[in-house]
């Protein structure tokens, strides 16, 4: 188990370095191939040659990518020092650098925005897990019924409708129209009720999409499990139907669901870009979208790293969890 974990963590570290290199590559090499000098997009309308040159130096456009990646990781573990134009700044570890645009240190941006995204992802996950699994189980037990067909139509629409559509619809109805919910983000530290009010629509919107997927998966898995011999055995023992479904069938159904949940949460932690954009939630997804628009590499790198770490950890947790849930699985 320990050897397994060490091996996995090592692989994850290699993966992270590769991911960061790819981001650097996209940022620096692609414009170069397109024959565009990206430094000019950082100096405003009146391009001063000194400014362009300074930006080139600041962005490290002259350094090879390997050096830049090395500096980046060095900054995270031991900090790094920036100098340019007589301005020397030491950035203590964990140093993710400074935003090219707003000049703020990236690490506080990440730590400031992370709770928003985490709150969004976890809250939505609770909702979609409860709703999706309940709807899926009910559909499976009432297969072919009106409920089943109705639920699956709703689920299909949930899967196919984009967030910015359902999100705007939710806002239009509940926030602008009926005015039941304000729908503007309020930090949890300011007001619990306000936070809840700001998060409920994003939760519902995000949960709608995922609940739909989870309902479909739950239904299919449950139907498959209900056909298993060991379910018949459970009934043959004289177990009540509640125990047969709630214990024996659910235990097996939850395995793929938990795997999915782990992966989805991992991906969402990196930022639910569409949801955060639609609801103007100041989370990581909004930050990274803005950063991409503004070519703000340090923010992009920071969020990418967090996302990658989250996904890799989620993968690991899912694998370990799998071994816990399913005794047939061995970690090796």
């Amino acid at each position: 188990m320990l050897a397994y974990l060490i091996r996995r963590l090592f692989a994850a570290a290699v993966m992270l370095v590769v991911i960061i290199m790819v981001v650097f590559g996209i940022f620096f090499l692609v414009p170069k191939w397109a024959g565009v000098d990206i430094a000019t997009s950082f100096v405003g309308k009146q391009a001063d040659p000194a400014a362009v040159q300074a930006v080139r130096e600041k962005l490290g456009l002259s350094d090879p990518i390997f050096i830049q990646v090395w500096e980046f990781f060095k900054g995270i573990f031991v900090g790094r020092t920036y100098s340019g134009g007589g301005d020397v700044t030491h950035c203590a570890a964990p140093c993710f650098g400074y935003s090219f645009r707003s000049e703020q240190a990236v690490w506080p941006v990440l730590t400031d925005r992370f709770p928003v995204t985490l709150g969004l992802a976890l809250g939505a996950a609770v909702l979609w897990l409860v709703l999706g699994v309940a709807a899926g189980v009910l559909s499976a037990l009432k297969r072919g019924s009106l409920w089943d067909r109705g639920a699956m139509v709703v689920a299909l629409s949930g899967v196919s409708l984009p967030i910015y559509f359902t999100g705007l619809l939710a806002l239009a109805i509940f926030s602008y129209g009926l005015k039941w919910i304000d729908g503007q983000y309020v930090p949890l530290s300011e007001s619990v009720g306000g936070w809840f009010g700001g998060m409920i629509l994003p939760w519902i919107t995000l949960a709608f999409l995922y609940a739909a997927m989870y309902a479909r998966i739950t239904r299919a898995t449950m139907l498959e499990i209900l056909g298993e011999d060991y379910i018949r055995t459970a009934r043959a023992k004289g177990l009540t139907e509640q125990v047969v479904i709630g214990k024996h069938a659910m235990r097996s159904t939850m395995t793929p669901i938990l795997t999915m949940l782990g992966m989805d949460l991992g991906a969402l932690i990196g930022g639910a870009i569409l949801t955060e954009t639609t609801f103007s939630l100041p989370g990581l997804g909004q930050a990274v979208l803005n950063a991409i628009k503004n070519q703000d590499l340090p923010i992009i790198l920071g969020v990418t790293l967090i996302t990658s770490v989250a996904v890799l950890i989620a993968n690991l947790v899912v694998d370990v969890l799998y071994a816990v849930i399913d005794p047939r699985v061995r970690l090796s």
Partner: protein, 595 residues
């Protein structure tokens, strides 16, 4: 009550249905506000070039801005967005600034930190100001002439503080001899020779060459004082040290910004700012539709960006809340420009052929029509700039006889160009501006009718300066037609047209003279302009430069841009100003209630 609610809900259902139908319009709230009342909206265009509800402004309250975009920088030296300059007046003062009046009068310069306008001597090469008594920083210390000098010196530190306008540097030290305060070896870092500070109250500017717009440039926020011990260099944007009536309380880039009263500021020291509200908040939205809806709902008082509402919000607002809207001229001209390096646009007749061949009404429609898009542009000087003639000057009959295109005339010009059968070219357009793409398509369609085959190349809009700002790249890609827009940095022909039309401004990167105009007459007129101190004469020269540009056929203007801006019922003392291209003048906005 019950019935009303039911009908409201039914309305919601209808609105939801409209959304489902793909309109994605935000739901219409059933608010029946009575327009024109004291507590209600002032009426359509009530604040356009005039002051609305000035007497209703009360001290106190929280003024709420919302924005889809944060400033490029809140550092007075580095910001270049018009709304940022406008907003900076809350926390920064200048020697002189634009008048806080509506319309054209707002473009005039008035004393701020200085006791009066400049004493100009030495044939327009020396400007002397005296600072007022009682002007202070947010910690109560007095603002000195050295602080003003230091703030201006920061413009030279382009290697650290890039992004802002560099007029001050161009005017005071065109050869770039000074290295900026950070590389300044002198003990006080005040080594810039062009500025003298004989005492804490006096500041003297020595221009190597006279420039008639120097005082206009001093009115830009990039001439704000900065105190050396508070200069955090690149990070100054995160918390600029206030010299104005408000100071930074908190700022998270892209999230929110809160200003609170600067208690050290004294009304008696400031002839310009009224400082009505107690607090000013800005919230950033990543969804422009959401922002518009918040404006309509009254959660937000006005749009920080002042670029007009999005099409959906605009439609709803025009139908139901017209009294909250103003429809000012933005100062921007939207146009197509023809780089002479790309054949056959080296020939004026081929350029003229495009101008005649275009359907100008269709281009105006693509921009949003007469209300949201603006009047058909007939020449290249924005109506807010002195010397502009508006649609009265229309050498190509763009808004007149040829407004739907004149194919016969276009073919005539093609023949004169030696391309009787037409030619092929490429239209370059930013991919992140749907409206510009629409104009490109309109142009493509009308040009096809006269035999000009134009392909549209949508390039990465975030890379604009690197792509169309590089003349070699433009030539390589064969961009014969570039779709762009331009607004004045300050409302004079120099503030608008110098980077676009003067041959000295052609550069290999970040170029703005896309047409590559090398006209000795135009260069000469600009030289003459900067040496002219008489306002009437300046205006004449501006008119003449505009005529020369139009006669060259370098540009096809689309619109004199107009936009639709929202002001909430709560706002008082609202007016648009030419100083900031038709935006509301932020600094003196007041609220009707201090709540």
């Amino acid at each position: 009550m019950t019935t009303q609610r039911t009908s409201g809900r039914r309305k919601q259902a209808l609105a939801a249905a409209a959304v489902v139908a793909g309109l994605l319009t935000t739901a219409a709230c059933g608010g029946g506000d009575s327009d024109g009342s004291k507590n209600g909206a002032a009426g359509f265009d009530a604040a356009n070039n005039k002051v609305a509800q000035a007497s209703l402004a009360k001290k106190g309250g929280t003024l709420k801005f919302g924005g889809a975009q944060d400033a490029d920088s809140w550092d007075t030296t580095r910001g270049y967005y018009g709304f940022a300059w406008n907003f900076m007046r809350y926390y920064s003062r200048q020697l002189v600034t634009n008048k806080t009046s509506a319309g054209a009068d707002g473009a005039k310069v008035t004393p701020d930190l200085a006791t009066g306008l400049a004493k100009i001597t030495d044939g327009g090469k020396t400007y002397t100001y005296t600072l007022r008594d009682g002007v202070t920083w947010e910690d109560g210390k007095p603002i000195t002439s050295k602080d003003v000098k230091y703030g201006i010196e920061r413009v030279w530190a382009q290697d650290v503080l890039s992004g802002g306008p560099t007029y001050l540097k161009d005017f005071l030290d065109p050869d770039g001899k000074y290295q900026g305060p950070y590389k300044d070896k002198s003990a006080d870092h005040l080594g810039l020779k062009a500025i003298d500070t004989p005492d804490d109250k006096t500041i003297v500017f020595h221009l190597p060459k006279a420039n008639a717009d120097f005082e206009e440039v001093l009115a830009l926020t990039s001439a704000s004082p900065v105190r050396q011990d508070k200069d955090t260099k690149a990070k100054y944007t995160l918390h600029p040290f206030s010299s104005g009536p408000y100071k930074f309380a908190s700022y998270s880039p892209g999230k929110d910004l809160t200003l609170v009263r600067n208690d050290a500021w004294k009304q008696s020291s400031d002839p310009v700012r009224k400082a009505y509200p107690d607090k000013i908040t800005v919230k950033f939205f990543s969804n422009a539709n959401d922002l518009d809806q918040r404006l309509i709902n009254g959660d937000i008082d006005l749009d920080l960006n002042q670029t007009g509402m999005s099409p959906q919000g605009r439609t709803v607002a025009l139908k139901q809340h017209k009294g909250n809207l103003d429809n000012p001229v933005s100062g921007y001209i939207r146009y197509a420009v023809f780089p002479q390096s790309v054949k056959p646009f080296d020939n004026v007749h081929c350029r003229n052929a495009v101008i005649y061949g275009a359907d100008h009404v269709s281009l105006q429609t693509a921009r949003g029509g007469p209300v949201a898009g603006g009047d058909i542009g007939t020449n290249m000087l924005p109506p807010s700039v002195p010397g502009a003639e508006g649609q009265k000057y229309d050498p190509f009959q763009i808004a007149g006889a040829n407004k739907n295109g004149n194919a016969a005339k276009a073919k005539e010009e093609l023949k004169a160009c030696g391309k009787a059968d037409g030619f092929s070219t490429t239209i370059a357009v930013r991919n992140n501006k749907p409206v510009e793409v629409a104009t490109a398509q309109s142009l493509q369609a009308s040009l096809a009718k006269v035999g000009i085959k134009a392909e549209i190349d949508q390039y990465d809009g975030s890379q604009t300066p690197g792509i169309i700002g590089s003349p070699s790249n433009v030539k390589k890609k064969g961009y014969g037609i570039i779709i762009m827009g331009w607004g004045p940095d300050f409302p004079t022909v120099q503030g608008f047209g110098l980077p676009l039309w003067d041959s000295k401004y052609i550069s290999q990167s970040g170029n703005n003279n896309y047409a590559l105009i090398k006209d000795k007459k135009i260069d000469g007129l600009f030289d003459q302009y900067v040496n002219t101190l008489d306002a009437g004469k300046k205006t004449e020269i501006a008119t003449e430069i505009n005529h020369k540009v139009m006669e060259g056929g370098y540009y096809l203007p689309f619109t004199f841009e107009k936009f639709i801006n929202w002001r909430s019922d709560r706002l008082a003392n609202v007016y648009t100003t030419d100083a900031y291209s038709g935006m509301y003048d932020f600094v003196n906005l007041g609220l009707k209630s201090s709540k």
